[in-house]
């Protein structure tokens, strides 16, 4: 009996070890493939110049249009998602406090929205675009990506708000704070680390998604100056270049993937750094 327990323990430990390290291995392997193929084609020119004539057939130029475009689109979408997401999260946690069933239904719906594939958001964004009389543009892309990341942001903010103890609000009120002062000086500070993490993760999701902007953002070799112009994004740049029959262009796709991976890793590290920095005052 005792021997069996020892073996059982070893088996569980072995499976856990294998599972954990296989995840790390897959990540490292992915980074190895992307970087080994992409670094060859990566240069200052790739990052800091716009595509010139015949770029997608092996001509000169770079992917600055896609880098800046992705940045514009993700920032715009994140701002829009915050404008919708923060009041929504507050509404769930403050106004619906007595209606637990409604609260849970909304949370369930948001979780379901989180799980919908981004191509569906793309198709919905396209339909919405036609309905509003827009054409493929930065604005249409921002709206579609905002639709994609808003449920993520609302649920993340919601989870942060749920963890803030009611006693902390009581402490603030008992010192003579108004609701606004409590929200800004206490709740916001207590949740800041979580809010920043949620924001950066939503931004990361927005910058890395190709399917949702496939029909709505269009594509251009220029950097858009107005919201009405089409915009290039890194995921679409990778997609278009990788579909090319020319080897050199496919290598450039991996260079764009290196840039995108770098941004995602930078966002992830920043989220970790900032959340740690702002978490030092958190009351647990």
């Amino acid at each position: 009996m005792r021997t069996w327990k020892v073996w059982e323990q070893r088996l569980v430990k072995g499976i856990s070890f294998l599972a954990a390290y296989s995840v790390i291995f897959i990540l490292l392997f992915l980074l190895f493939v992307v970087f080994s193929k992409g670094l060859k084609a990566l240069s200052w020119g790739t990052v800091f110049s716009l595509p010139k004539g015949g770029y997608y057939f092996g001509g000169e130029g770079g992917i600055l249009n896609a880098i800046v475009g992705s940045f514009y689109l993700s920032v715009g979408a994140t701002v829009l998602a915050v404008i919708i997401g923060v009041p929504a999260a507050l509404f769930i946690n403050v106004q619906l406090i007595r209606l637990k069933r409604t609260q849970n239904t909304i949370r369930y719906l948001l979780d379901a929205l989180w799980g919908i594939p981004s191509i569906v958001y793309g198709a919905f964004g396209f339909a919405l675009m036609l309905l509003l009389g827009l054409h493929a543009s930065l604005l249409a892309g921002i709206i579609t990506v905002a639709l994609l990341i808003t449920p993520i942001l609302v649920r993340a903010f919601d989870e942060v708000l749920k963890t803030i103890p009611v006693e902390l609000q009581e402490a603030s009120f008992s010192l003579g704070s108004t609701k606004t002062e409590t929200a800004l000086r206490v709740i916001f500070k207590q949740g800041l680390a979580g809010f920043i993490t949620a924001l950066l993760l939503a931004f990361g999701r927005g910058i890395g998604d190709a399917a949702s902007v496939l029909f709505t953002a269009g594509y251009t070799d220029n950097i858009p100056v107005t919201l009405d112009e089409p915009v290039a994004t890194l995921p679409l740049s990778i997609f278009f270049q990788l579909s090319s029959p020319i080897e050199e262009v496919r290598e450039r796709a991996y260079a764009a993937a290196v840039v995108l991976t770098f941004f995602i890793l930078l966002i992830s590290v920043s989220a970790r750094f900032l959340s740690k920095r702002y978490a030092k005052n958190i009351i647990k």
Binding site: V166, E170, A171, F173, S174, T178, K189
Partner: protein, 274 residues
């Protein structure tokens, strides 16, 4: 210009304001016909209570009898719990807190709060004590610094934290955090201290420090203390209120309540509690 009475540690031993004999006789809090209910049922049933000035009033009773709800009704923290329906009157120095709207923050500043577990604000030690002062509109850095120092000295925390005032409040031990919360409450110069089992999470040494502080503070403040510890009630109480299932069963001097209980339910509670 807002004038703020400065007090040092030594000065704090003197009364903060002159209270005439007649005022001393009148209760600082009067609860009339207070009912608190949820959809499920009643938590407080027609509570009528007078809290005398500058005394330690202990609310005693088994878990779930409504002590904390009564305490939270006094400074209207029941507003945070939307499921609670409150009716009746809670007169603080003659003003019904249940009826005020715009002046609620000012009314709440009259009552410092100590909860079961200390909840310092998510800022530094210094800013915790300064928080209430800034809410009062005090902008003078010198005045704030002076008040922070004197209140931290008052709760015996100054020597332990004077070299790390900018450290996060959560870096303190639980006992130190509770004293910080007391200093934070005292800084806004309340008349009443509401203490909801403030020593339940503390070690015996920290408990003793808080109890001794209460004994000193009652000279200038009215303290309403919720506790489960009968010995603590014996040590501190000037007036005991025994509650059971949302009702006040008995109240009076600790000797009468704790040594000569009149009701069976209190007798049983005291036997089980001991």
């Amino acid at each position: 210009m807002i004038t703020y009475p400065v007090f040092s540690y030594q000065k704090a031993k003197k009364p903060q304001r002159m209270v005439n004999h007649q005022e001393k006789q009148t209760p600082i809090i009067e609860v009339k016909g207070l009912n608190v209910r949820t959809r499920e049922g009643e938590i407080l049933k027609n509570i009528n209570l007078q809290i005398p000035r500058n005394k330690i009033v202990v609310l005693l009773g088994p878990s779930g009898c409504g002590k904390t709800t009564l305490l939270k009704s006094l400074n209207r923290l029941t507003d945070l719990h939307k499921e609670l329906q409150v009716s009746g009157e809670v007169l603080i120095d003659g003003v019904d807190i249940l009826k005020v709207s715009r002046d609620l923050p000012i009314m709440r500043q009259k009552m410092g709060l100590l909860s079961q577990r200390p909840f310092p604000l998510p800022v530094s030690i210094y800013r915790n004590v300064a928080y209430g002062l800034k809410l009062k509109g005090i902008r003078s850095k010198d005045l704030i610094a002076h008040s922070v120092e004197s209140n931290l000295k008052r709760v015996g925390l100054w020597d332990e934290v004077k070299n790390r005032l900018n450290s996060p409040a959560n870096s303190l031990s639980i006992g130190q955090q509770q004293r910080l919360c007391l200093a934070r409450g005292l800084a806004v110069k309340p008349a009443i201290i509401l203490a909801d089992e403030p020593t339940s999470a503390l070690d015996p040494i920290s408990t003793k420090i808080i109890e001794n502080l209460f004994k000193e503070l009652k000279e200038h403040y009215t303290i309403i203390l919720v506790t489960h510890v009968l010995r603590q009630a014996v040590r501190l109480a000037d007036h005991v209120v025994f509650m059971y299932y949302g009702d006040i069963i008995e109240q009076g001097h600790p000797d009468d309540i704790l040594k000569r209980p009149q009701t069976e339910v209190l007798k049983k509670y005291l036997v089980d509690g001991n």
